[in-house]
Amino acid sequence: MSNIGLIISALLIVGGLLWLLIRSLTGREVERRVIFIFIGLAVAVPLLFNITFSEKATPIVKGIFDKIENLPEGSKILVSFDYGPSMAPEVEPMSNAFVRHALAKNHKLYIMGLWATGQSLAASAIENVIKPEFPNKVNGVDYINIGYKAGNQGVLNVIITDFRKLYATDVDGVNLDSVEIFHGIKSLKDMDLLISVGGGFPGIKEWVLFAADPGNIPLAGGSAAVSTPLLYPYYPRQLIGLLGGIKGAAEYESELKKTYPDRFGDMPTPGIKMMGPQTLAHMVVMAFIVIGNLSFFFAKRKRK
């Protein structure tokens, strides 16, 4: 059923655009309402029929994926939730994908947050992703949430030398000395990979300046689209990779699905889902720019 709808709508959009393209060769203009219909379809159809595009991971995304992939089993990965609810639709898919990937590779997962709001979002990631999808993983052995501490980059300044100076316990009040996952962990320098997911202050930039650079620890990031351009200069020297906006999330999700079709074949992919309307709408806008230029060009030629 949905396939038929998909085919019909694809024909409608592609066929319609082609027809407009041919019309434009005679220098005719497209009416505004026609453009509106196409934009409406481009957004509605992927939503209704769940159309997704195969996202190919760009090197900046692949960098993170390969790093997690190639770390030996049992490596220590720290994910910091540096965002709030308003940014969550964009970056939550990223933190979820990182968590999934790390646990699927049997790495040890350390969760914290530089944002006060990050703590509850991290808790919901544990509730909604880890517990149902990884029932065998044990809190305190395979993963731990040490939560949020006030102090912004000051927190990093301290935990790069010693976790226990700020974090005596995890979020549940369990002493860090008594949990298995923290045995032999003194500071951030004992981590094999740091990942910061966020897009404001404090965020990835602070992780670069106050943790990754001074401690010489590999750092990856996932950021909201707005702040991504400002972070590019850190790649590849200080960041091993960066997921930018919903597009980065989608690329990571599709890479996960491609590599582990059995395990993540039917995991929820909000990033890929959101990219459907985005991709199609962008392509329609670009198609109209092309059509507009063609009709302009041919109308000019005609007049001559």
Binding site: I35, I39, I60, P229, Y232, T279, V285, F288, I289
Partner: protein, 213 residues
């Protein structure tokens, strides 16, 4: 009295606010906070004038049966109901409960929010029609506009293959480097324009906003 005194007031308060910036002492801060508070309070009185203007224009429309007068009834009805809810009814009349009133909240959630969000989302359509109409290689300037927009949008094409990475890099370069330069140029200019205009207002050179006799 009608014209000179307002100009003197503008001068005194304008100069005070400038000096305030250079005086960190508490007493200067204290006056500063007062003045800002006052503006908000005067704003409430202005709000009364504004609502009066809205009601009068709508009422005129209805009274003279001007074109579309029926819709002016909807405006007044919406206004009246919302004020009624906002000032609460029954038990909690005249307490800050007004903003927590059930119907007040529901009107906000189910009338204001959907219309607001939909108006905002019309931008998705308009951005496409504007792009179609304006992004044409008519001149060098228009072409620059067109090309840089296309480069930034092309990142969303999943069929770019190996070029994708370079597109991404070029786009972020465009958003970082020329963007920064242009913004800085504009901001410096705007800063000067603001200072010049504010000075003209404070010195009373620009005064037609204060009316005439």
């Amino acid at each position: 009295m009608k014209r000179q005194l307002p100009l003197v007031l503008v001068f005194i308060f304008g100069v005070f606010m400038i000096f305030q910036y250079f005086v960190p002492h508490e007493s200067s801060e204290w006056i500063f906070e007062f003045l800002l508070d006052w503006i908000y309070i005067i704003g409430i009185f202005a709000m009364a004038l504004a609502i009066y203007s809205l009601v009068r224009v709508s009422w005129d429309k209805i009274k003279h049966r001007r074109e579309n007068w029926q819709y002016a009834v909807m405006t007044l009805l919406g206004l009246f109901l919302m004020v009624l809810f906002g000032f609460d009814y029954g038990r909690h009349f005249f307490s800050a409960e007004g903003l927590q009133n059930f119907m007040f909240r529901h009107f906000f959630d189910y009338i204001m929010i959907p219309i607001q969000a939909t108006m905002f989302s019309l931008l998705a359509f308009f951005i496409a029609s504007a792009a179609y109409r304006a992004f044409r290689a008519r001149s060098l300037l228009a072409s620059l506009l067109l090309i840089s927009a296309l480069i930034v949008m092309l990142r969303f094409n999943p069929y770019l293959g190996p070029v994708a990475e370079y597109m991404e890099k070029t786009a972020s370069w465009l958003l970082n480097v020329p963007n920064l330069a242009a913004k800085r140029g504009i901001i410096i200019g705007v800063g000067l324009g603001i200072v010049a205009t504010a000075l003209k207002v404070i010195l009373g050179i620009e005064r037609n906003y204060l009316g005439k006799d």
